[in-house]
Amino acid sequence: MAEHLLVVRDIAKSFPGVRALDGVSFTLERGEIRTLAGENGAGKSTLLGILGGALRPDRGSITIDGVRRMEYTSRRALAEGVRIAQQEPAIVPQLSVEQNLLLGLTRQQRKASADDIDRALKDVAQMGFPMDARTPVSRLSPAQRHALTIARAFAFGAKIVALDEPTTSMLEHNVAEVLSRVREIAHGRGVGVIYVSHKMPEVMSVSDTVVVLRDGKPAFDRPITETSSDDIVRRMVGRELLSFERQHPVDPAAPVHFEASGVSHATSSAPLSISVRKGEVVGIAGLVGSGRTEFLRSIIRADEGSRSSVSIAGKPVKIRSPRDSRTAGIAFIPEDRKAQGLVLQTPAYANVALTADGQLNGFGPFISKKKQIAMAEAMGKRMSLRPANVSLNARQFSGGNQQKLVIAKWIWLGATVYLFDEPTKGVDVGGKVEIYELIDQLASEGNAVIVVSSDLPEIISISDRVLVMRAGEFVSEHTGADINEHSIVANAMGVSSESPQSSQNDAAPAASVPSSDRIDPADTGADAFGAAKGTS
């Protein structure tokens, strides 16, 4: 028989302090769709980087069409027809659809590109996103941009296409169409596809084979028909899935600690209010774009045009800026911890001390590094920060430990109100449990906690009470047994069981979904938001 399309043999790659890949081998045939599965940090990105030629492996070989490639650079990879479609669509919003498709081509290639453009546009249309070649990409929705990225990857003589989380911004019925089109293209044109996704139903429906990476090593390699999503998840994690239960549910008699009313911002429809009791964890669920982040930011007055009137322990406090909210003891732990929670290039202790005024000063107006470090170390110990060395730069910590640093800067200050926005985004399973324990502990100490999350199992397991936000308003409140996936999702999407939405769900890739799997409303993104509004 003909050679394999792609043979990856014994690839290893180390970075200072980390072995990202260690002896990874697999093959890819023409027309095969192979899922690359693994937790965050398992080495998927590194492997894609090597396939794309951006990274050079320490060891191992890449063989394409039977030819072993020695000098494998990005240019070589492109010439070989290897295309990596990144998770963040790598397109230029100011250019038109056609200009984006042509990006990077030489003049000769452009001349001969008419057919490819037509085909790419047809592909996009068949994925359910018809678009005109002259439309500026800035007018496309995130889902359309993703579809365009996928189509571009398959255009211009692609032989091997890697799709990294290609459906994150799409609605479920779109996902089904995109996936079926990807299968048609792959099988019809003999393109080998490497598919990276965390969403098991997609993986089960689209792939032919699956290879699981765990800690940089291939842990599992099977045809998809011989395995199940439960099985794959188990191989990915290598341990039982997280199950977390609150150790300290709120005392029903606890007094209200935090109250905010008239919370609004420049684009909000109606002012909102919320009250949280001492020791209570209130979860806020809803689709991305429903206004949850803006709600939290308005409370601390982070954006111009936001309003709120806040009282803590029954006493009104005047808040005009994040400065005031810090003084009042309100902590905001933002979603994008790299850009909004940390100063990455400064040491961990300086990050934790960022909320200090003069408290950690030594002599006169001068700060005491010793005090800052001692305080940060004490915090680190309490939260089992790893590594424990707080003089390392914030950048050098993993997602979960970075999150601990962000939380630490409020705990030492004695904040009593904690507003979390997606507290475990980009945190691996072990880290998640630690964050949950921390939230539980904060609540048990009598603080008021609000958690915005798109991770439903998370919201369900840590909240005493859940509020669902839709289109900038709280549409439902859930307590006790009413905190369940079905009722939360139904309210978040604005559908009751007889609405057309359910038929869309039927059209979604059918597969056995383990209950532990994330049904992630966030993944449906802005489009879902629009659709939800339409149906309500």
Partner: protein
């Protein structure tokens, strides 16, 4: 919960040697040795004193700029402020008859006011620092011309000249001034809450804001500092040439930025060192001086200065950017999906 599991080996923070910072010192030493070998007069005490004096204006202005650059900003108006303040102070002393010490203080206050204008334009009107200070550069320079109709002010009081251009036990006063400014700036940057906030604002403005740092206040303060130190630099120029020229500061407009950048200040913000800026200024001063000693026509000096800036910055970028590995390593360590922030660094 976690308090029960002490993590055992608490790694003692190891003192890290910053090789990047070291490079600039090595370069300076090499430059001195080379110039000394090429011309034996270079390494004489008298000449080294000249080098120090000629580096002083760049050092003073550059230190102020370092703060601005660390916040991620830029101040193009420093040279114009120096000119403007020099003219105004000299006029006050020569024609207004105010005492030299008052002239000095008035000048520095004027510089701080100019800086405050920059800061307010940047924070309250949200102008990009480049645009705001490009505008004020022109305005301040124009003010300097308007103040005396473009004429220089001669015969500055002798006491004023002595104040900044004399020697104390053989050490030029300006060098002492630079030392005091540098030590003060170093303490301010590394040892105060303000300094930590400056670094935080430059590293991630949003993080600083959400952590309760008064970002606007920090920025305005930083431009005031740059304005005040530019004023001091302008007054040093006046004392050195014994007259105020309406465009005396303009040569320092860009060389002060160059000094900061050679010293490792990162125009993207978050990074910069006072000592580095000092060394940067010394390197530029030594080059100017050395090229004169070597009888190199003065036009070449600019070419050399430019090349030094380019080499210094590309070495700095190189030591950060060598391994693309390093960057993707960060990605893997932090194990988070590549959000916009990680990819925005530089690719």
């Amino acid at each position: 919960m976690s308090s029960a599991t002490p993590d055992g080996i608490a790694l003692r923070p190891r003192r890290q040697i910053n090789f990047q910072a070291l490079g600039i010192y090595i370069a300076a030493i090499v430059l001195f040795i080379v110039l000394g070998l090429l011309n034996p007069n270079f390494l004489t005490a008298g000449n080294l004193r000249d080098v120090a004096v000629s580096a002083s204006v760049n050092a003073i202005i550059g230190i102020g700029l370092t703060f601005v650059i660390i916040t991620g900003g830029i101040d193009l108006s420093v040279g114009a402020i120096a000119s403007f303040v020099g003219i105004v102070s000299a006029t006050l002393m020569v024609n207004g008859g105010i005492p030299p010490a008052m002239g000095l203080i008035a000048g520095i206050i004027l510089g701080i006011v100019c800086g405050a204008v920059n800061g307010l334009l940047i924070t309250k009107l949200r102008l990009p620092p480049f645009i705001a200070t490009l505008g004020t550069m022109s305005v301040f320079q124009g003010c300097a011309y308007v103040a005396t109709n473009g004429k220089p002010v001669y015969d500055v009081p002798k006491e004023f000249v002595l104040l900044l251009n004399s020697y104390v036990v053989g050490i030029p006063v300006v060098v002492i001034v630079v030392a005091v400014v540098a030590v003060g700036a170093g303490l301010l940057l590394r040892k105060t809450v303000f300094g930590q906030n400056v670094i935080a604002v430059g590293g991630s403005e949003e993080t600083a804001w959400l952590s309760g740092v008064r970002v606007h206040r920090v920025k305005i303060a930083v431009y005031c500092l740059a304005g005040g130190l530019s004023a001091l630099g302008g007054l040093v120029i006046v004392a050195r040439i014994n007259a105020a020229q309406p465009d005396a500061g303009s040569p320092y407009q860009l060389t002060a930025i160059a000094a900061a950048v050679i010293g490792g200040a990162n125009l993207m913000g978050g990074e910069g060192r006072i000592a580095g800026t000092l060394v940067g200024a010394v390197i530029l001063g030594a080059l100017t001086n050395g090229l004169v000693l070597l009888n190199v026509p003065s036009f070449y000096e600019q070419i050399v200065t430019g090349l030094v800036v380019l080499i210094a910055v590309s070495l700095d970028q190189g030591s950060k950017g060598w391994p693309m590995l390093k960057r993707s390593n960060k990605k893997d360590l932090t194990a988070a999906p590549p959000t916009a922030s990680t990819s925005a660094v530089r690719s």
